[in-house]
């Protein structure tokens, strides 16, 4: 199990290097990242990896693009929740620093939910998630005018299927530059 985690981290690392080497826009769409993420749902892999592994990933993000835009563009949520998990503190700080330093850059926060619950209520939940990310960015110096939010509720899943691994992928806010 430890070995497979290590392999996955190294795949992510080489992927990041590949994207950085391309020099263009990193893959910003959730569709792409979910395809590359393998079998495990991000929430599940997060609990498996523990804090230390998560720290390494963050370190790579800042090391690879010092002072630049973080590569990680998706914040995942727990079921029916809009609280931002502590593991995203560093990442959101990096986004905030980047946006605060580049006041002409705009970002769109797209809130999504899994398919459980009613559709219009889920629009509300997706909006709440996008607003939660917005608040954290603004507290750290990003101007309100740089941020727009939109909620797609459960209407734009990145992964089909009525199972926990699909649900975990679909409960998200996408940070779209």
């Amino acid at each position: 199990m430890q070995a497979s985690k290590a392999i996955r981290i190294s795949i992510l690392l080489s992927l990041g290097i590949f994207l950085a080497a391309c020099g263009g826009q990193p893959a910003t769409r959730a569709d792409d990242s979910s395809d590359l993420g393998g079998q495990d749902a991000p929430g599940a892999s997060q609990t498996g990896l523990g804090d230390q592994a998560s720290g390494e990933l963050d370190e790579f993000g800042s090391a690879g693009r010092r002072g630049g835009r973080p590569d990680e563009l998706i914040i995942y949520f727990e079921f029916d929740k809009s609280q931002i998990l502590g593991r995203y503190d560093n990442l959101l700080t990096q986004h905030a620093l980047y946006l605060a330093a580049n006041s002409q850059t705009r970002v769109r926060l797209e809130g999504h939910t899994d398919e459980r619950g009613t559709r219009e209520y889920n629009i509300g939940l997706g909006e709440r998630r996008a607003q939660a990310v917005r608040q954290i960015l603004m507290i750290q110096g990003v101007a309100a005018g740089q941020i727009t939010t939109v909620s797609f509720g459960e209407e734009r899943p990145v992964r089909a299927g009525s199972n926990e691994s699909a649900y975990t992928r679909n409960r998200r806010v996408e940070i779209v530059y």
Binding site: D31, D80, E115, R116, G117, T118, R119, E120, Y121, I123, G124, L125, E127, R128, A130, Q131, R134, T149, V150, S151, F152, G153, E155, R156, A160, G161, S162
Partner: protein, 435 residues
């Protein structure tokens, strides 16, 4: 001669089916009443000589009655005789076949190219004529005319007003990624006659009928953010009713058709319910709460608005006066009750209820909140009442695909409405048409 005509009829039906097979919805009764009434709907005698009848009107009527779950319509191939009036009916023979009622009639072409349907309904035991009508129709209107006849027969035999001459709006989704297509479709209540009203690569949601049966409000993300449109079916004309900052969602026409309840977040990022006067565009705020307030629906007299709110923690149904005053919590059973709809008489409500982890359609008494789960799916949602209040159409999942299903208000009659491909969701049953 009769054989020849039957053959021609068969060919017509087959041709018609093949042409529209892809769009067809097929209805399957999964639970009916124990004693569905056996009825014979005899193919209408065709008075047009060697030309083909434009539609097998009796087949449409027979399918309507059978699909209701309350009738068992006889296969015409089992009929020994095909009478078209009272003189031709051997009441004893039909009774011996176990039948209780019979429909006979004729389809008469007119010199102006239109038609007259003449039909009669008989009680086979009392040997009594229960109904007899002549109904003029254009060729294109024959299917609608057949549904009206189904309504008359259904009401005469059950005492319940029929809802066959109505329509259903729903959303379909096909394809993945950039090839994904969202469509708003309007079809007859029997699944025939598909018309794509809107098509978009971005999500379409929440279709809602105006009481005139000619306008539909819906949410579209075609500009990459939500906006509410109102589209007129007869002309295809549409107007953008709301594209305010933030969320524009959950439209619901008032019973007089002049106002639209809707959900907006505006600049606050928090969802509240408003009422938009469509004539003067005046916006009235109904809720002011940091909770998610959404999914408004009106009482039949327009005096109250019911809505979903998670102000107490999880989503529950609340009511308010139409000016926003007098808010009251309706549901208490379970941790998730959302997206309520009321029967036209306002005495019953349908909601989406979390039943130990499964989302199911439940019936709620809007006075005391008493709740009864009606369906047994895992992800049942979007209940909508037929205009006679007898049947709830909703969306469910079977083998990972979204399909429509119906359940009678007493839970006894259940049907699945399967589509050929793609996901089907968010059904909305039309009001009665104006004849």
């Amino acid at each position: 001669m009769r054989k020849f005509l039957v053959h021609l009829l068969g060919a017509t039906l087959l041709g018609g089916f093949a042409a529209s097979a892809q769009a067809q919805l097929t209805i399957e009764i999964t639970a009916g009443v124990d004693q569905a009434m056996p009825i014979a709907v005899v193919p209408l005698a065709w008075q047009g000589g060697l030309t083909r009848p434009p539609l097998d009107v009796a087949a449409v009527i027979a399918a309507d009655l059978s699909n209701s779950g309350r009738f068992d319509a006889m296969d015409p191939r089992d009929m020994l005789e095909k009478p078209f009036d009272q003189q031709g009916i051997d009441f004893e023979d039909w009774r011996l076949l176990g039948l209780e009622a019979i429909v006979v009639g004729r389809l008469l072409p007119q010199s102006d190219g239109n038609y007259v349907i003449q039909f009669e309904l008989f009680d086979l035991f009392k040997q009594r004529r229960l109904l007899g009508f002549r109904l003029p129709s254009t060729g294109a209107g024959l299917r609608a005319a057949a549904h009206r006849i189904s309504d008359l027969i259904y009401e005469k035999l059950t005492g319940i007003k029929g809802a066959f001459a109505t329509r259903i709006a729903f959303i379909t989704v096909q394809g993945q990624g950039s090839a994904r297509r969202y469509r708003l479709v309007v079809a007859d209540a029997d699944g025939a006659n598909h018309n794509i009203i809107v098509e978009s690569p971005e999500p379409l949601m929440s279709p809602a009928w105006a009481p005139d049966g000619d306008r539909i409000a819906y949410v579209s993300f075609e500009s990459n953010k939500s906006a509410i449109y109102i589209q007129e079916l007869s002309t295809g004309r549409r107007l953008r009713a709301s594209a305010r900052e933030g969320v524009n969602g959950a439209p619901a026409f008032s019973p007089d058709g002049r106002k639209l309840a809707l959900t907006l977040s505006r600049d606050s990022g928090n969802l509240d319910i408003y009422v938009l006067n469509l004539a003067n565009q005046v916006l009235t705020r109904i809720t002011r709460n940091p909770a998610i307030d959404t999914e408004a629906t009106w009482s039949a007299d327009g005096s109250k608005i019911f809505f979903t709110s998670d102000r107490s923690g999880g989503p529950q149904i609340y009511s308010a006066d139409a000016d926003g005053g007098n808010k009251r919590r309706i549901t208490y059973e379970g941790n998730y009750n959302g997206r309520s709809r009321l029967t036209p008489d306002g005495k019953e409500m349908a909601v989406v209820h979390n039943d130990q982890g499964a989302f199911r359609i439940a019936r709620v008494n809007p006075e005391n909140g008493n709740l009864l789960v009606l369906t047994d799916g895992q992800l049942d949602e979007s209940p909508s009442f037929s205009p006679n209040g007898e049947t709830i159409i909703y969306a469910t999942r079977v083998n990972g695909r979204g399909i429509l299903a119906t359940v009678s208000i007493d839970g006894r009659i259940q049907r699945r409405i399967a589509a050929q491909e793609g996901d089907v969701r968010e059904p909305a049953w039309s009001p009665y048409p104006d004849f």
